[in-house]
């Protein structure tokens, strides 16, 4: 589904990714772990087109995507969330969820004039939004400005936006960062539910290893821009490299 093939990226001489390769197969939850600065978010930025690699390539469903713009990559079926929520803060929670769906007729400059061309789709969209609000238990804040809600709720909206994207592959960057343990558990429960009901593939960067290891099918451990260990959660937990990366040799 997604192949990251020997990708490198440097920032002013600092190597963030060093010929990294990963392989994502459909229908699984992948975890990406590693200390701060190991290149996890840079990897997401390259997959989603926010950054261009210095070398190497990214292939999604047989197509090279590292040369595409973020909006084109999104339209191919890759969506993501950010470590720090990037919501549309002047808009309500409901509006934040109404924006991600692709091919909205009413978003077209010429067709926007003709209400009849888009109103049915807009109504259908509201049903999807309602469903998502229910799944995320966010109905009570649906009309609040997204700048007025809690950090945990912002994380949920980020997750909700990925749900509204009708994606094939979802990249979540620390979906439980800054969230209380109960809500973090809830977030993982929701991810698992969506994965099962929609058959999505997830790649999750997460520092709560207990939760990630309990839910992921496969883990990549990154250090200094390289994959230093990979495999099932059990394998990576028992790999001495894990302790080495975090505690030093």
């Amino acid at each position: 589904m997604l192949v990251v093939d020997r990708v490198s990226k440097s920032f002013k001489g600092l190597k963030a990714l060093d010929e990294i390769s990963i392989n994502i197969k459909p229908g699984h939850i992948y975890g990406i772990i590693g200390p701060n600065g190991s290149g996890k978010t840079t990897l997401f930025n390259i997959i989603t087109g926010v950054l261009k690699p210095d070398s190497g390539q990214v292939i999604f469903d047989g197509r090279r995507i590292d040369v595409l713009e973020p909006n084109s990559i999104y339209n191919l079926g890759i969506t993501r969330s950010f470590q720090l929520p990037t919501l549309w803060l002047n808009m309500s929670v409901a509006e934040n969820l109404m924006l991600p769906p692709k091919q909205q007729v009413g978003e077209n400059l010429r067709k926007a004039f003709f209400k009849k061309a888009w109103e049915t789709q807009d109504m259908q969209l509201s049903d999807m939004v309602w469903q998502t609000l229910e799944t995320l238990r966010l109905k009570q804040v649906a009309l609040n400005k997204s700048s007025e809600i809690s950090g945990g709720q912002m994380k949920l909206i980020e997750l909700g936006r990925t749900m509204m994207s009708n994606p094939k592959l979802v990249l979540l960057d620390e979906p439980t960062a800054g969230v209380n343990p109960a809500l973090a558990l809830e977030i993982f429960k929701i991810i698992k539910e969506i994965k099962q009901s929609m058959g999505l593939t997830y790649v999750i960067i997460e520092h709560r290893y207990d939760m990630l290891f309990a839910n992921a099918d496969y883990i990549y451990l990154l250090n200094e821009g390289k994959v230093v260990s990979e495999g099932s959660p059990e394998k990576v937990i028992n790999d001495p490299v894990l302790a080495e990366v975090y505690l030093g040799a």
Partner: protein, 350 residues
């Protein structure tokens, strides 16, 4: 002040208001909805005005088969005589000017946008537009063939010369200006009270998120700048025809400042805000001009034109301190889908 003078002041204020309204609506579309820092609004306004002057002056020469200097007294007389001899001609030239003003402004907006499209920072485009506005004014001021340089071009005939007397022609022109302003309001309102408007606001609020969610920010901004500039070009044509005169020095960056003040006062991201803000700015502008004449008649030596800047400055300060979202703050775009969600929430609460 007699009744006729009062009517004349009201009509001229309404005309200036309508022109300012088109400009404010276009800036609100660009900045209020899409976050484009258009500090060169006056450039596109002036292009419309220059198109009118240039077209009216040169077409008269072409039609009469002469090659007068467009700034000469003979050329001015020729324009006015030709308008009387072929009364339908000024209307045709007016329509052609509207099309040319809009198209030229949109084309220049396109070129300026693509020149900076590789640079993500929005302020770079803003500075380029600001510089382009000033540069164009200086060039036109010093290059006579466009609109007679420093002196300006006089004798743009009223498009309704066919109406016979000047009063009727002026009245018809005023009606045209108001109708075009009304159409501009309806056009922009209809365009943005849609998922398209919501998309633009998403680009404005967080470009990265909009891009990640498939919204093509650069592509959309380019189109918005072109449409907004075309609107400003139309406003420029109306301005030139209303005054019957075009001069480069009328298009300093202070005009851009006025339009920004109107949008900021009224409330960004909200067309009713632009309607209100441009009304306030027009009233201050025209009010201080009328006061100047009034005081001069009373032999009171007070220059009230500067008072205008003081009033605008104080108003801006008050607005920013006490009502930063403007007189009429921005509201959600309530498409049918959103209204349905609101309805459902209300139902759940009761």
């Amino acid at each position: 002040m007699d009744f006729n003078q009062l009517i004349s002041i009201i009509v001229s204020t309404a005309n200036f208001y309508a022109i300012w309204l088109i400009l404010s609506l276009s800036l609100n579309y660009e900045y209020g909805y899409t976050g484009i820092l258009n500090f060169g609004k006056v450039l596109f306004f002036s292009l419309g005005a220059y198109s009118s002057g240039f077209l009216a002056a040169n077409l008269a020469n072409i039609m009469a088969g002469v090659s007068f200097d467009i700034c000469s007294v003979e050329a001015v007389q020729l324009r006015l005589d030709l308008a009387k001899a072929v009364p339908q001609l000024p209307l045709l030239v007016f329509v052609a000017s509207l099309i040319m003003g809009a198209a030229l402004s949109a084309a220049v907006a396109y070129l300026l946008y693509i020149s900076t499209s590789r640079i993500k920072e929005g302020f770079v485009l803003g500075i380029i537009l600001l510089s382009a506005g000033e540069t164009s004014r200086i060039v036109v001021r010093n290059y006579e063939p466009v609109v007679c340089g420093y002196h300006g071009l006089v004798g743009i005939p009223n498009p309704y010369t066919a109406a016979g007397d000047p009063t009727s022609a002026s009245f018809l022109l005023s009606i045209t200006i108001w109708v075009i302003a009304g159409v501009a309001f309806l056009f922009i309102n209809k365009l943005t009270a849609t998922p398209y408007g919501r998309k633009l606001k998403a680009i404005r609020d967080n470009e990265l998120a909009a891009d990640i969610y498939g919204k093509k920010p650069s592509h959309e901004r380019r189109k918005v700048l072109m449409i907004g500039s075309a609107m400003a070009g139309v406003a420029g044509v109306l301005y030139a025809y209303y005054l019957g005169f075009v001069a480069a020095d009328d298009f300093t960056s202070l005009k851009t400042f006025d339009i920004w003040v109107a949008v900021m006062l009224g409330g960004v991201g909200n067309h009713l805000g632009a309607v209100t803000g441009s009304l306030v700015v027009t009233l201050i502008d025209r009010g201080t001009r009328v006061l100047r004449v009034f005081l001069a008649n009373l032999s009171i030596p007070l220059e009230t034109l500067y008072l205008r800047w003081i009033i605008v400055g104080v108003l801006m300060l008050l607005i920013l301190m006490y009502r930063p979202a403007g007189i009429i703050p921005e509201k959600s775009i309530k498409t049918l889908g959103l209204l349905r969600i609101i309805e459902r929430i209300k139902r759940e609460k009761t």
